[in-house]
Symmetry: none
Amino acid sequence: MIESTLLTIDEVGLQGATVAMISKRAGVSVGIISHYFNGKCGLLEATMRSVLKELAESIRQRLREVDSDDVEERIKAIVRGNFDPQQIDRKVVKTWLAFWAQAMHEPSLYRLQRVNEKRLLSQLRYELTRILPRPKAEIVAAGVAALIDGMWLRAALSSDGFNGEKAQEVISNYLSTYLSIDKKGGGVRSDER
Amino acid sequence: MIESTLLTIDEVGLQGATVAMISKRAGVSVGIISHYFNGKCGLLEATMRSVLKELAESIRQRLREVDSDDVEERIKAIVRGNFDPQQIDRKVVKTWLAFWAQAMHEPSLYRLQRVNEKRLLSQLRYELTRILPRPKAEIVAAGVAALIDGMWLRAALSSDGFNGEKAQEVISNYLSTYLSIDKKGGGVRSDER
Amino acid sequence: MIESTLLTIDEVGLQGATVAMISKRAGVSVGIISHYFNGKCGLLEATMRSVLKELAESIRQRLREVDSDDVEERIKAIVRGNFDPQQIDRKVVKTWLAFWAQAMHEPSLYRLQRVNEKRLLSQLRYELTRILPRPKAEIVAAGVAALIDGMWLRAALSSDGFNGEKAQEVISNYLSTYLSIDKKGGGVRSDER
Amino acid sequence: MIESTLLTIDEVGLQGATVAMISKRAGVSVGIISHYFNGKCGLLEATMRSVLKELAESIRQRLREVDSDDVEERIKAIVRGNFDPQQIDRKVVKTWLAFWAQAMHEPSLYRLQRVNEKRLLSQLRYELTRILPRPKAEIVAAGVAALIDGMWLRAALSSDGFNGEKAQEVISNYLSTYLSIDKKGGGVRSDER
DNA sequence: GATGAATGAGCCTTCATTCAT
DNA sequence: AATGAATGAAGGCTCATTCAT
């Protein structure tokens, strides 16, 4: 069902996707969608919930694999989670874009979007406050979050398919550069702000 | 016409926007849209072309105001251009999102999106290669571009309206991080790559 | 459904007939027409198929009623079938005319028209070759077919309603002219060709 | 103008032909059609009037070329006039079909059609009454008229282009056969009726 | 008189949803 | 519970006609 939705959106877009297409692909009747998901919009919401759950799971798994005290590694793990093959799959990417456009006009979708947006930021902030003063942690968290979304978006919109590794390289590079500076002259610089 | 489109998309989304709504708001007949813009899709394209032109103009203007040799300032000018009040206006933002979702399934829109995406990147790269070795310039350019898009996107999707200043602060911070390193040990470090 | 189409074309012509009119008269929803007939054009095709089937049935029935060896009577039966009350009904006649005009620009309709056109001719030829040398049979078959269509058309276009009997009289006269000659001096004349 | 109409109907049918297409081809403005012809329907009427006038002229010319007392030749001349290359031109043929379909629902077109239909019949009847008793002349006239229309129609609807010669052959054959019989045993046969 | 830009009614079609089975 | 045929509102687009220039 969810998979059908993703595949169909991939093929023809959210507008082009009809409930008939989706239900046919899933091998169920059209009625079932209105019945169980409360219409097409509800199906999109359920689909995004599923994608979001997998994203969260993907991050959690990566975090479990790294030293719980190595902040830099933990953040890189979060980044890797966001660039999990499943997340950068074309059908998921297209669904994300459709979801964003729709979310601006659908409260239920909007809430979902907000929760996800805030979760990433707070995760990053939580890690960074362990080694950076709060104002700086705030800025770096916002930066990393924006980099994740921005790299993800740029990759999504480019035709060359997804280059997740390059994205992660840019982010890692930023992170290690930043943290190394901080270790050297962090005190002074953070006073400046 | 273009303004009507933006306002209508802002109100009801691209899907919800009918040509009747748009033409009524613009005070013209429905027929005129198909006649001049080649249908609803053509209208979206024309609208985005207009938005893109204004973005380009906004950046050009900011660049004209800064020292043509101060690379950091020039990049900040590009960033400021991207966060111009007109660009972060809610109706423009919503149209961007709708445009992205649509562009995945409409070749003419896709081309437009690609041109814009590449233009920002090449502008940044051009400036950065003046003070950084090419591989590093590449990474920083990609980083700044992603930060712009990412901050812009996060701001767009958050309800609190747009906080362009915070976005610019984050990006400035990112930029100075890289450039300060370069100044300190740039020669050696860039040789390493 | 078919009946609704015929009645509506009778009233306002094919151009004037809207799907809404037809479906309303049939007491079904408009959507059903696109669903089952693949649009207005498909509906016309289905309607003509029905008319054609009834024409074929009408001829078959008339043929069953006559001596299978009396060629003249068999041909008259075919003629009678073509002038069956159902075939010369005003609504059927108008639909035929609309169909012809449309068939020139619609491959699927065109094929249908060709099949029917050829069927009549080959039926006549088949009967006539039993008593006439082939070249003459060919000419008489073409003549009878043209007479049927021509009488039918003239009657269709005249306001006085259909005078099927007069049409049949003319055709019978034509037929006996040819067949009587053949009986008298057929051997010699047919050698001439 | 008239020529443009014929060409456009040939290409896309009467329904498909827009006034814009026709006026563009004629190199005039769209307004001119409503202005001078009173709309699209008026243009069709004017076009058919032109076609009809040429048909009449074509027949008159053929009649002028034959002996005014040779009835058989005069009728053959009328037939030849109806199968004049100009009349069996594809664009004229298609326009005729469209005209018929339309005439059923447009009084002004209907009158035009009636006039033409009757003119042919009365011309034939006039000639035939010179050598046949009236009832027989009536039947033969109706037969020849129907043959002309029927052959013309069958040729029009077949894809093989127009085979005017074969049509004329069938009609001539009928005519000479009929008249020769009549001369031989005309008295007796006509008494039979 | 001639133009052609603008109009807007009306069309066919699509498709989310419903509901009898 | 599951189906899928039927619904009918609504959308984009076309195009004959108008009318200011």
